[in-house]
Symmetry: C2
Subunit: 390 residues, 2 copies
């Protein structure tokens, strides 16, 4: 186990009707709020009304900035920063999924910063302070509701996507009501599950030895997501199954599961390039790439991949051939993704061999860089992984 | 799953040599510190010197209050409160195990409180503020380093033991270096493991249905503690095994594992009475009581106890007789405790049937009270459990 620090200040308020506490929770942190959200979905569902009623009941003043899109854009972040400064806003309330939360975090860090917020994403300039952020979560997937991270795309520069991680980006609170996820369509539910599974798997596949507790915590979260995704696709209004996925989605990404270990993250980085080509949902891209990545690298540590196959996918171990055991686990994971309606090959999302070189080049960002920690992938490795994903 | 709130602000700083960061960490929170500890052990080990060197290097002023005993006493807490007020102390640094930390928390809550600190423990009066607490942990067991709880005994009243839980009691930081636990003797190591196992099991056995993620997280932590306790007893200087136990001990009690569920806690409450009779170590008392409690109540939910037996103790399920499966799990748990050198019968610690009625009466505290949540135990139930522990 490696030395580590673990800190997570986000207060989770979980359960039925908890969105009605948003006014009281916000009041503890805010004088004036920017209510940040996407489009009309929260108005149609009634959530917008519930949130604004709760803020008004507690006399919390707010202004609004809707319009967050998937792959949240730098231009809207800048607009939000200006709006907050003009109006003396001191707290951002994000109502939505990962994109809305990531956008809210960027605004929160940008308001008190003298320079341009994009500096943080490009050069890692740390914030010295940040406004507080609160969350009412509608999509369990990204885990941004209790994470240190934010991913923003520069819409003036070919949607150049950059991630920034800092403890100050952890929200003050996150309201998680599984009922709010009943209306998620099956495909979006499946994409969310795939994203959650990937967040755990990226942490699981590590070169650090002797990390038994976190191995087992990861396996616990993975099994829960796998089983309950199947339940939710059978019955979208299964509160308990929705609750398991929602809570697992937060635990998957709040950094507990990588304490003492070093995650990989190559699949996430390659997936960002897939999304930029054809706007495939992040979870769908990951469903295609993760098994291919696993297939390509598993021979580097067959014991770890066999453990994963046995403990997560209930494969019977072949102690004489751990790689075979590992491959059977990967096959079952791919079958699972297929069974929940996700694509598992690049062809299904219109990515052809003609795209591979561009994907491989862009993923590395510079000629010297490699991608990932479990195996440091070079261009030719990425090309091989893309071939395995055909 | 039940609605819940989860909040834990404690910054964990984990790994080799991390005690040398204590000065820098303390400086962020403190102007003047009360250094609180037990006896000579930390002086002999060199830890006292490392901690005071680190504080001095960062120019953190401190005064000292040693003398915390197991089952920390109210009189010392009151002495600490007076000392802090006289000297303008604004932060308590606890160097030791659960007793030292619990005592530090009581002082921290007591200093800014107008009334008597014992009010909080007896009547649950919540604090409106509390000094900050930092921890350098030397014994993985109680989990107090990141918990909301503190248990204090009134040494002027027959060591009347009371627990108080409040979010404000969560330490600001906890330094966890597994190397500091190499010198723990085997018996104390085993008692710590039993305490950790009990913290998880108390949360595991619940009437709340559909709590799959937390079931599995509990099982993950239990398996880790069981396996690594055996390793550590073989080789006390096994860093990685010590690290697994230390981190599991914190996760066991930081409230993550009971999100959405209601724990039982009867075994803990009965154990407090055992300790008051013959000063048996808490973990040893729990090793005797937990299996007896499980035996007595498992017929109320054989499926849950069978799940525990199968997933934690690797029992092969007898699907035609889940209670038999459950009992085999309990037997293995008892064998495990015996194998690590703990007592598993009341006779071994000198408790005889003559004590039972007093234990049963005192555990309930008043004629109307019952004990525990999984089954609400009355006196006659406690008597039965004690008989099963003979």
């Amino acid at each position: 186990m490696q030395n580590f620090e673990f800190y997570n200040r986000t207060r989770i308020v979980f359960g039925r009707e908890t969105q009605n506490n948003v006014g009281a929770l916000t009041k503890k942190h805010a004088k004036k709020v920017l209510l940040h959200y996407g489009g009309g979905h929260i108005k149609k569902s009634g959530l917008y009304q519930q949130v604004t009623d709760s803020l008004e009941k507690e006399n919390v003043a707010f202004i609004e900035l809707p319009g967050v899109m998937p792959n949240p854009r730098l231009s809207l972040v800048r607009e939000g920063i200006a709006l907050c400064r003009e109006n003396g806003v001191d707290f951002i309330l994000a109502v939505g999924g990962g994109s809305v939360i990531d956008s809210a975090k960027a605004i929160a860090a940008g308001v008190p910063y003298d320079g341009d917020i994009w500096d943080m994403y490009v050069s890692g300039v740390p914030p010295t302070e940040a406004l507080g952020v609160g969350v009412v979560l509608t999509i369990p997937a990204a885990g941004s509701e209790a994470s240190v991270g934010s991913v923003i795309s520069d819409d003036s520069d070919n949607n150049n996507k950059r991630a920034f991680n800092h403890e100050m980006l952890q929200p003050q609170f996150a309201i998680l009501n599984p009922e709010l996820t009943f209306s998620l369509p099956p495909y979006q539910t499946a994409c969310g599950a795939s994203d959650i599974i990937a967040h755990i798997a990226e942490r699981y596949f590590t070169r650090v030895k002797n990390v038994e507790l976190t191995d087992r915590l990861c396996e616990a979260a993975l099994k829960t997501v796998i089983r309950n995704t199947q339940k939710v696709l059978q019955d979208p209004n299964d509160y308990d199954a929705r609750a398991e996925i929602m809570w697992a989605g937060t635990v998957a990404h709040n950094n507990l599961l990588n304490t003492g270990r070093i995650g990989d993250w190559a699949s996430h980085m390659i997936e960002h390039e897939l999304s930029s080509i054809n706007d495939v949902a992040h979870g769908a891209g990951l469903a295609i790439l993760m098994p291919a990545w696993m297939h390509y690298v598993c021979k580097q540590d067959p014991a770890l991949f066999a453990q994963y196959a046995v403990r997560v996918w209930n494969v019977e171990a072949d102690f004489g051939d751990l790689e075979l055991t590992a491959l059977e686990g990967i096959r079952r994971q791919k079958d699972f993704f297929r069974s929940i309606g996700l694509p598992v090959t690049l062809g299904e999302i219109g990515i052809t061999p003609a795209h591979y070189e561009r994907i491989a080049q862009n993923t590395r960002r510079s000629d010297k860089d490699t991608v990932g920690n479990f195996v440091r992938l070079r261009s030719e490795d990425i090309m091989q992984i893309l071939k395995l994903a055909e």
